[in-house]
Symmetry: C2
Subunit: 208 residues, 2 copies
């Protein structure tokens, strides 16, 4: 059986070499290329058609990880994409999965976890770090995300088309507080504008 081919995408050289060394200890895994940016990753995927792409989400300048995932999926829906990143924000997880990531690992994952994730990915299994899994699970279980009561209340009014000022008046809080809540809501919903938040909220199961 041929080894599983892997493409590493991370803007930090040290991370790439560390991963390469780590994966190199496994006879069934072979790192065939490394990319330092989303653009480069796109080229290398076309060239090597690896079985798995292990990618960092935060990538200095240029295309970000999420966008890279989206593009990769368009180029070749075959290879599995594994996110390998430092932070576990709700928004990133949701968006990565949404963009088509096969798994989501945190950089503090144990070597064994990483191996398992790569092997699982090629077999179509989705592997993720426990904290990530738990967040995602909550997302699925509670479609309103992990919104606090206050946030949910705000989101409800948001869909009425109110401005920040109006929201503040309606809830007897300052505009500053409204903005804070909104920022949290956007992060949890994985959007970045109120327009998208409203669209998401309203479409999300008959909310009206």
């Amino acid at each position: 059986m041929n080894p599983t081919t892997v493409l590493l995408v991370d803007d930090h050289l040290v991370v790439r070499s560390g991963l390469r060394a780590l994966l190199g200890t496994q006879p069934d895994l072979a790192v065939v290329a490394e990319a330092a940016s989303g653009e480069e990753a796109l080229d290398l995927v076309r060239e090597h058609a690896p079985d798995v792409v292990v990618m960092d989400l935060a990538m200095g300048a240029g295309m970000d990880g999420i966008e890279a995932i989206r593009r990769l999926r368009q180029v070749n829906t075959r290879q599995a994409i594994l996110v390998f990143t430092t932070y576990d924000s709700d928004a990133d997880i949701v968006r990565a999965v949404d963009a088509g990531a096969m798994g989501y690992l945190l950089k503090d994952a144990a070597p064994g976890e990483i191996f398992a994730a790569v092997r699982g990915a090629v077999q179509g299994r989705s592997v993720m770090s426990p904290p990530v899994a738990s967040r995602l699970f909550q997302q699925l279980r509670n479609p309103d995300g992990i919104l606090t009561p206050r946030e949910a209340e705000l989101l409800g009014l948001l869909t009425e088309g109110l401005s920040n000022r109006e929201l503040g008046r309606r809830l007897f809080i300052s505009e500053a507080t409204v903005k804070t809540h909104l920022a949290h809501i956007y992060a949890k919903l994985g959007v970045e504008t109120r327009a998208a938040a409203i669209a998401t909220a309203i479409r999300r199961e008959g909310m009206r």
Copy 2:
């Protein structure tokens, strides 16, 4: 039979006296008070409880006509409110009717039309100038308002949460044009923010 009592609301003295003179020619109509602002109108309605309120929508400073109508309805749902204004904008018509106006007349209406409207209003009949009626009819017949194909297309994308820049790219037009279309859409929907437009559009019949 007692004459029908009327309250005139218009910030222009000349309009008020003109109307008073006009209505005065009819033995069954009696102007019992005049207000120059929404606030004043509220007070006078409480004081005189007129059968009909004939009101201009544009009213210099302070409360605008739409808001005044809304308040009046809260105070006393009894009297009929007749809008008597210069311009027939889609947004104003929709909002006035929505706020609870009984009829909608343009200032170039013939005297006979005005008399008929006032008499009709007290009897619960809704009278409006022909051009107004036609606009309103279109609104009802076509829930998408009077949106042109291009505007409808834009509104659709708007509900996806796109920014002006993105809308422009998607439709191959400049951001300036996007803004122009949006301004028209807002006017036709009777809203003033994209958030409200999105909310309206999405709720409007299962649009998704």
